[in-house]
Point group: C2
Chain length 248, copies 2
């Protein structure tokens, strides 16, 4: 198990998300699943379907983070440019991948494998495929960059088929409590608690549910001992402030 934190970046490729028409659902899934295996999602970037932006973003991300995941832009239409841009980012050619071609050949009846579908067999030279149990057309991996589909069901299936290739660090364990007290009432006590538990990360997230403001407090740590001790103290603090702690 690596000593250093293992980090990841998600690059969401798609004008559709930026225009507000489609809501991304991949960030939440990836963030939670990476956490399970001790990889910390440190950044997510939503970018448009523009070649130079994809190249620059992926090249920056693959240097800064242990793993990079991209979603979107690997379908059969003219605006699906992710594979070509990743090839450019790595300075290699975009080629027809024989293994990907064989998968498509097996999936489609003769005559059905038209030119747009064949585009989905193209990967950067040297890529390793990522299996797509849902709709067959594969994703691919280049070094530490995992290129996946944008449709959540397909993205999730692809992620699960490559998760064994990832080497995580110590997973964070967490405890969360919801309380209908304003953040500003909890703030002083929480800060004092944070001061006493440097190895427990304490976050406070206000919310508004049906017009009622409340606070969600989240404690995260790599060890259960300090986490449970801090949670016990936080529970006492909330009760002392007149709140009713509702732990997940």
């Amino acid at each position: 198990m690596p000593d250093r934190p293992v980090t990841a970046c998600l690059v969401v490729i798609g004008n559709e998300i930026l225009s507000g028409r489609t809501r991304d659902a991949n960030l939440a899934y990836l963030g939670a699943r990476l956490n399970d295996i001790g990889v910390r999602l440190m950044e997510a970037r939503v970018i448009p379907d523009l070649d130079e932006v994809i190249v620059a973003t992926v090249n920056e991300a693959r240097r800064r983070f242990t793993y990079v995941f991209t979603t979107g832009g690997i379908g059969p239409t003219h605006d699906d440019i992710t594979a070509a841009s990743i090839a450019k980012a790595f300075g290699v050619a975009l080629v027809q991948n024989p293994e990907a071609r064989a998968i498509l050949d097996a999936h489609y009846s003769p005559g059905e494998l038209n030119a747009p579908r064949l585009r989905m067999a193209n990967t950067p030279e040297g890529a390793t495929l990522i299996e797509n149990p849902v709709s067959k057309a594969p994703g691919f991996q280049m070094d530490n960059v995992f290129v996946m589909a944008g449709i959540p069901e397909v993205m999730q299936a692809m992620f699960e088929s490559v998760v064994h290739r990832l080497v995580g660090g110590k997973p964070l364990v967490s405890r969360s409590v919801t309380v209908y007290l304003p953040e500003s009432k909890v703030a002083l006590g929480l800060e004092a608690l944070q001061g006493r538990y440097s190895d427990v990360e304490m976050g406070s997230y206000p919310f508004n549910r049906a017009g009622r403001f409340g606070t969600r407090l989240v404690l995260r740590a790599t060890a259960a001992g300090p986490l449970d001790a801090a949670a016990g103290e936080l529970d006492g603090l909330i009760v002392e402030l007149g709140g009713e702690p509702d732990w997940d």
Copy 2:
């Protein structure tokens, strides 16, 4: 009206979004509203509550884009560090803003304005406030950077209270159609259509609804004439392919 495209970047500040626990709702709102006024959201970055990351991200974004919007981290708790980080990004001091202080003084009963709440009166020196009609504690603007709350209701109210400060370009108009045909069937015709309409941006977005795969095709342009002409041709193409165009 500016001749050049007017661009924006959203910086979502919050460990909670990256951990997968909370889903961001601000990107979709901002993307759609900016589009209404002719500002194009070109990037969204979700980053953790880490001072050096906020400083570096905001400094990069404010140079690259016409406008930058941040959400999150301006509450009363110890993990709300956005104001201090923005001050650092601009190389100015974090100060108690007299106008913000007056707003909090007017809102809270005497004795209620405790130290954590007072933190919400701190802004970088020289900031202009952003009104918060929902819960009073204001956001602020520094040059082209707009610092807003993370709670969607509050963020939306803040955005609407500053939208008049933004100067947009030509808004994009769009037409969208949903069709239960695979992308790969539409791809060739769509690409040919794109070739004939260089001033209409054509996007194809596959989806899976209750196990049924379909495609959403979106046409966007700054002028209604070519948009409607392209939409007419696309409708014909879909029917020719045996699909039933369902226009929004």
